[in-house]
Symmetry: D2
Subunit: 296 residues, 4 copies
Amino acid sequence: MKIGFIGLGHMGAPMALNLLKAGHTLSVFDLAETAMQTLADAGAQRAASPKAAASGAEWVVTMLPAAAHVRSVLTAKDGVLAGVAKGVTIIDSSTIDPASAREFAALAAAQGNAFVDAPVSGGTGGAAAGTLTFMVGGSAAAYESVKPVLSGMGRNIVHCGDTGTGQVAKICNNLVLGITMAGVAEAMALGESLGIDPKVLGGIMNTSTGRCWSSDTYNPFPGVIETAPSSRGYTGGFGTDLMLKDLGLATDAAKNVRQPAYMGALAQQLYQAMSSRGDGKLDFSAIIKLYRAQNE
Amino acid sequence: MKIGFIGLGHMGAPMALNLLKAGHTLSVFDLAETAMQTLADAGAQRAASPKAAASGAEWVVTMLPAAAHVRSVLTAKDGVLAGVAKGVTIIDSSTIDPASAREFAALAAAQGNAFVDAPVSGGTGGAAAGTLTFMVGGSAAAYESVKPVLSGMGRNIVHCGDTGTGQVAKICNNLVLGITMAGVAEAMALGESLGIDPKVLGGIMNTSTGRCWSSDTYNPFPGVIETAPSSRGYTGGFGTDLMLKDLGLATDAAKNVRQPAYMGALAQQLYQAMSSRGDGKLDFSAIIKLYRAQNE
Amino acid sequence: MKIGFIGLGHMGAPMALNLLKAGHTLSVFDLAETAMQTLADAGAQRAASPKAAASGAEWVVTMLPAAAHVRSVLTAKDGVLAGVAKGVTIIDSSTIDPASAREFAALAAAQGNAFVDAPVSGGTGGAAAGTLTFMVGGSAAAYESVKPVLSGMGRNIVHCGDTGTGQVAKICNNLVLGITMAGVAEAMALGESLGIDPKVLGGIMNTSTGRCWSSDTYNPFPGVIETAPSSRGYTGGFGTDLMLKDLGLATDAAKNVRQPAYMGALAQQLYQAMSSRGDGKLDFSAIIKLYRAQNE
Amino acid sequence: MKIGFIGLGHMGAPMALNLLKAGHTLSVFDLAETAMQTLADAGAQRAASPKAAASGAEWVVTMLPAAAHVRSVLTAKDGVLAGVAKGVTIIDSSTIDPASAREFAALAAAQGNAFVDAPVSGGTGGAAAGTLTFMVGGSAAAYESVKPVLSGMGRNIVHCGDTGTGQVAKICNNLVLGITMAGVAEAMALGESLGIDPKVLGGIMNTSTGRCWSSDTYNPFPGVIETAPSSRGYTGGFGTDLMLKDLGLATDAAKNVRQPAYMGALAQQLYQAMSSRGDGKLDFSAIIKLYRAQNE
């Protein structure tokens, strides 16, 4: 299939490469020349603009940092909506707020295009390995139609409901993730101060009611889980500033529906404190540093 | 073996019954006559005081609401320490602060008795079924010695380290539990307001990085997990006031070691708000009611 | 002087009326016909658009709900910038984020107009009485030049620094206000529960280190300050939803400069809880209801 | 009058000295020899125990660090209650929880002694100058009777209500103080980051609705108030660890009456973070350091 792909960053580039490997024809666009070159070397066609990438495509995929970028890529004079043929479905894999996703879907619908929100989880590792999870918001028909494209980039393609619910699933999951990580960090640091061996504590939690991904897979205490970023200096993984962005989306969405988000708002401030002290690029599990001042 | 057992409440009574079933001889004490009668009917000997229960016992087990009760049961004129033979090990399964556990161990040691802290997880269900987890703090030798007794009441007997670390493990685990439950409640309620089907959202979390016991086993949103208290009106389970007690132990312990406990302290206030509005007896997952005002 | 005035809401209408009383000539615009009629009756000229209101004016004043409205009123095809003469200063009294204020100043500067941010405090009462405080961001020269206009609507015209600092002053002040009110509410409710007479407690605070405007002028406990909204059912005053808006501006601004806003973010969630339970129109001191569940 | 005075620390010593200056006869006790010597040099009589200090006294004053010390000083074998004559009133100026104050009053009443709680505000400066405020809990008659003694040490002697309400007033006031200081610190640091001159911001707050003692008298930003600890390196003043103690009393009291203390609990964690990083001896306004990481 002929796919227009816009946004070749840390996530987008490996995703696009996987589509090429899956046998699709790609017309790609990004502002960064290096990214364009990488994809061109792998066989993609360079497009001069989002509009050009979308022209003649049977599918369009966008993977961008924030809603403002998606809006611009879609609606600019040389944007996707100006080039895409009627009937083509636009798949946005960016993580953005649900309200914007719904707005973009309405814009697309107005000129005869379907739009599905399909944010991902799995990180750059999952993007490279083609094992991402896609959370898809759109009609059942749209979901069925995009599966063949998305399965070239990921393993689990989950239908979350109507337009916007892919984003809802993503931000609600990451809201829980940001909170549980802060909670596990707090408890592990407390246990250390109170004199228990962190590995023993981790082991108990992981077989008890404190069990969670932030504890059993990604424990923030160095040495508890050998494969976690905490055991390699908090490098790699999911950056604090990215977690900050997602918690911002969650608390903003909560604000819009007038619902309190006590725990998420507090967690957000804690990650902000990390970013403020210059640790925004570290894996988000480095939040445990806020608690271990005495012990490190 | 001859065991003195003091404290026959919701947890203590079924634990003592299981010791009887396991073939031990029990001398029991509780202030509540009904509890005494239940155990007597099952074959235990009534003791007139903690001292009497401890006299002649090869082991002493205490299961009490708080550190003040343990102190009194141990040190009163007619208390355990006044009656227990030299060399006998005292096992305290109450959930109390680690510092008190260490203090009690020192008191016991001063008169030639070992003392291990062995708080449990598993709730009244686990107590009845004999499937509790015991988190044991004490020397390796003490741990080995108490295993035969504890295995009459539980399935997992975990050595956490020196005296007090059993309590540390318990309160750190429950600190995480109280936080993750509040976080999952916040995210599930937000998802509902943003228009995603709660079952779909729960399903996505449970296979993603938001996965945790509070989500996949005990989800606070009614109907997501059929066996969870949320699906039966928040009855049964682990009461809000008990969670409050444990979070109080955690934040107090943090205060004593001068460590911030941001997330735990906030979660504690939220459960307090539940207790304040009269919902202290509901399962702690009812905390989602604080978020669903608009939707219920 | 000839003034174009756009935005005739609860604040804008009385402000415009005071400018008329001060002898200025006004050309006004608002989407609401009733508001237009009120001003026309008082002698103002109706304008068909922001552009029309700005045409021929020596000064332009805007008083709008949020940055999005200011952007639209300034930059739309029939907006202020399309009609205003070169050299005329635009005064925006809306409460918006400092970054947007700086952006609008740049847009105005590009076509030869000065733009000062001049948000107010003093509420609808101050607007009617002409006793508002204006916090002015802009050059010293611009500040001097706008004083004669602003003194027709307010009593204190304070120069805060360069463009945007008027907004900074406003949101930082209201950040403190939102926090102190929540704190005073918490303490007054706690005092009540602990058995002290709220009037006695209020009196002690007000002569001690807990002294603050939220306590000595606007105490949230009914009956402590007879003139406060709390003593008349939390009607009138400064609505919870308006406080929510300002705390949102503060935490968003903090996010943009990567600084934690722990207390503000928590206070924001508490006001959100009020809004969520349907109390968004009550005076913001009604936040004490979150604490008095047991006692009311 | 003959007064027994127990507790000659940073506050107690200057208070006792003022009583001597006011012409009273003092019998004093403290565990620290230096403190005893200072008072003896000034004319006080050394007592060998609290009991001895209380024997023959017409009044007893205690000024101790925490409830546990008061309990011990009152109830020990050589304690106050063992030595005091029937009918003598015991004045406790320590800051402790209201429940303990009520318990001590009951113990005293059982043997025919009145007990009033009379915690102070005003710090070591006020203690030395004799300008303390006393918040008195006890009957109207007891209040009238203790006034002549307290007026030898302070300027304002306020009757708060029945036993315990002196402590309630103290901890509720300091709860507000701890919260407003954290709030002002957050806002001042935010203002700095957003580009406003801190002196200008302070000035605006102090004439607006953000006005509070933490802003207009004790502003945490260096240089805004020349006489504040912030302008002399956060030395002197009211130590962070003392604020931590008082916030601990407040949140514990809230826990006992099952009332949430959201803002106080969060502020407590922030001061705890300060203590954890080794800043517990700095004035509590140093909390602004948590926010100024980027700017200092």
